[in-house]
């Protein structure tokens, strides 16, 4: 198939498999291909009649549900781009996201009008559920999602593969989440590559574990729909619950699993995997962070039949390198598996500090070019200028990831130079946590650092100087963070200090903070700054 528009995957599969199940919701409610196609056509017509145009953005703040999938296709068929927002995140963060990309319409559920930005561009709100019994705002129409997706004449809109398909927001170093703009061409070039490597068929049953604001969801949804397979949505609550999750995989007879290594490790440790029949699984894909080999080996021993792949790529490129894990991981291996060579639709370049190409064996920053590379961040000219490099007539995205080029294994992930970390597969800019902490009324200074642990994880520690000195309740600080940040950004440890150490150029000395945290004895003798050291 040629690279085109994501809605065409649904339309082509509807012709081939009208009565096959396309999407199954968290409690088993299903939609066939013809139902999904008809309902999304109706929604598109509804939007077009109300003036939603090509290039407009439509926010979706819904829990994992078949309605969200109807919404995405309806929005894209109307020529607009969908902006999926974490329904579990604090309302304040969601409001900033929806205001940033100026959504014209919003699809959400009853009781969630708190995510609507006050001075906004929203003219239309669709609510899932039985009623629209909500206080109305000034300047927007409110309707039931159910009625908007019931019937409508499909309107053929001009389609362009360069149109934005969706905007995914990711943590921003300045404290504001930034919107990664992806077109239909970006997404479908990735999906086409997936087809050639994973060979899906209409008999596959895909997991959809990642939330829709996380780019792992792109593979789950569109690869399944392209091939007439079914995609099984996992609710946020079930997704966190390894014991039920293992049962779910067995009961739904899933054939393709895709998640972060964190979730697979949880399944291994708490899921009681041997007590479930997971024999239908043929593929286990993981991405988002490094998979410690010890856990990967244990998982493979527990589930030896499926083929395992390590997929690598930031939201800006989606998957751009990949590595197949050997069928039997040697007992002696403790080095994590490489992220592998570039996917066929991508080109990779590794450059050193001076912008010179790094020869095999050397280390440098990984740059990616190709049709899956995003258009830029929404309304961030300065960051866009810094993100790309023009070289050899191509536009290269600087991933910020440091890799080593191995002759046979492809790229090996080494780490980062900036302050971005991965937590449960999510990108977290430590600066965004600091900025949230500064909203606290007693905060004088805040510095957040990620400290490696013996078990290969990270401890996120917040070093705080409070007004008037002294300490605050850690419970209160955690609750404060929970009101301003998604749960995966809340620090693990809080350390109170009378001042923060500074470098000679008067910047926060993060290295010293980390050193003093890991070696408390040096802190006591060398730095008078610590007066309430954690135990």
């Amino acid at each position: 198939m040629k690279i085109g528009h994501l809605a065409e995957y649904l339309e082509a599969s509807t012709v081939r498999f009208p009565d096959r199940t396309a999407v199954v919701g968290p409690v088993g409610e299903g939609l066939t291909y013809s139902e999904l196609n008809r309902r999304s056509d109706a929604l598109a017509a509804f939007f077009v009649e109300r003036g939603i145009q090509q290039g407009d953005r439509v926010g979706v703040v819904l829990p994992k549900s078949v309605e969200s999938v109807v919404a995405f296709f309806g929005i894209m068929k109307a020529g607009a781009a969908y902006v999926p927002v974490d329904a579990a995140a604090p309302a304040e963060r969601s409001r900033r996201i929806l205001a940033d990309c100026k959504v014209r319409a919003l699809i959400t559920e009853r009781g969630r009008l708190d995510v609507i930005p006050p001075a906004g561009d929203i003219s239309l709100v669709l609510l899932t559920g039985e009623t629209t019994d909500e206080p109305r705002g000034i300047g927007w129409e409110i309707s039931r999602f159910e009625s908007a997706t019931r019937c409508g004449v499909p309107r053929t809109k001009p389609r362009n593969r360069r149109d934005l398909a969706y905007i995914l927001y990711t943590s921003g170093s300045t404290g504001e989440p930034k919107g990664v703009m992806l077109t239909h061409e970006n997404a479908s070039s990735f999906i086409e590559w997936c087809s050639t490597v994973f060979h899906p068929s209409e008999h596959d049953r895909f997991s959809s574990h990642a939330p829709f604001h996380f780019d792992l969801s792109i593979l789950d949804l569109y690869l399944a729909i392209k091939h007439g397979a079914s995609v099984h949505l996992i609710s946020e609550e079930l997704g966190r619950n390894p014991r039920n999750l293992a049962r779910f995989i067995g009961e739904r007879r899933l054939t393709v699993w895709y998640s972060t290594p964190s979730i697979l490790t949880l399944l291994l440790q708490f899921g009681n995997l041997p007590s479930h029949d997971l024999s239908h699984l043929r593929l286990i894909l993981f991405a988002g962070e490094v998979f410690p080999v010890k856990h990967l080996r244990d998982l493979q021993r527990c589930l030896p039949a499926p083929v395992y792949y390590n997929l690598y790529g930031p939201t800006e490129t989606n998957v751009c390198t990949f590595a197949r894990i050997p069928e039997r991981i040697p007992e002696t291996r403790d080095m994590p598996y490489p992220i592998g060579p570039a996917c066929e639709h991508c080109h990779a370049l590794v450059l050193d500090d001076q912008g010179r190409e790094v020869p095999a064996g050397g280390e440098g920053l990984l740059y990616i070019s190709g049709p899956s590379v995003f258009q830029g961040y929404w309304n961030r000219p300065a960051e866009n200028a810094a993100a790309f490099l023009i070289r050899n007539g191509k536009r290269w995205y600087n991933t910020g990831d440091i890799v080593c080029c191995h002759e046979h294994e492809g790229f090996i992930y080494r780490g980062r130079k900036d302050r971005m970390i991965k937590r449960r597969g999510y990108r977290v800019e430590l600066g965004e946590i600091e900025r949230a902490l500064y909203k606290h009324p007693s905060m004088q200074e805040a510095a957040v650092a990620a400290i490696p642990r013996a078990d290969e994880g990270l401890t996120v520690a917040a070093f705080l100087v409070l007004r008037g000195g002294g300490e605050a309740s850690i419970i209160d600080l955690k609750s404060f963070c929970a009101r301003h940040l998604p749960s995966y950004m809340i620090p693990d440890r809080f350390v109170f200090r009378s001042s923060l150490p500074k470098t000679s150029t008067d910047k926060t000395d993060y290295q010293r903070l980390v050193r003093e945290f890991t070696e408390p004895s040096t802190a006591r003798t060398n730095a008078g700054g610590v007066f309430a050291h954690e135990t």
Partner: protein
């Protein structure tokens, strides 16, 4: 009941709130809904309690309804222990 509450209290302070004053963590302090425990921390706590008190939690018991406050968690454990004792008594 008090001993169970005390054990939960000590574990949460040591594992998830190092540095916190003991009295700030009350038996009715919300744990899940306040950001003190994330989902992984809740699983670790459940695992510790299962081993320590020889009980098994059902999945629905790890939700905010039963697992959000120390007093609720302790109540679930005490109920399970007494059920186990009764079952043993009935069997012998």
């Amino acid at each position: 009941m008090n001993a169970v509450r005390h054990t939960i209290h000590r574990f949460i302070l040591a594992e998830f709130l190092p540095g916190e004053e003991e009295h700030n963590l009350r038996d009715d302090t919300p744990l899940l809904t306040s950001g003190i425990l994330d989902s992984l921390a809740a699983l670790n706590l459940a695992n510790f309690l299962q081993e320590r008190f020889h009980v098994e939690f059902e999945v629905h018991e790890l939700t905010a309804q039963h697992f959000d406050r120390i007093q609720d968690i302790a109540a679930v454990i005490v109920r399970k222990q007494s059920q186990a004792v009764n079952a043993k008594g009935a069997a012998s």
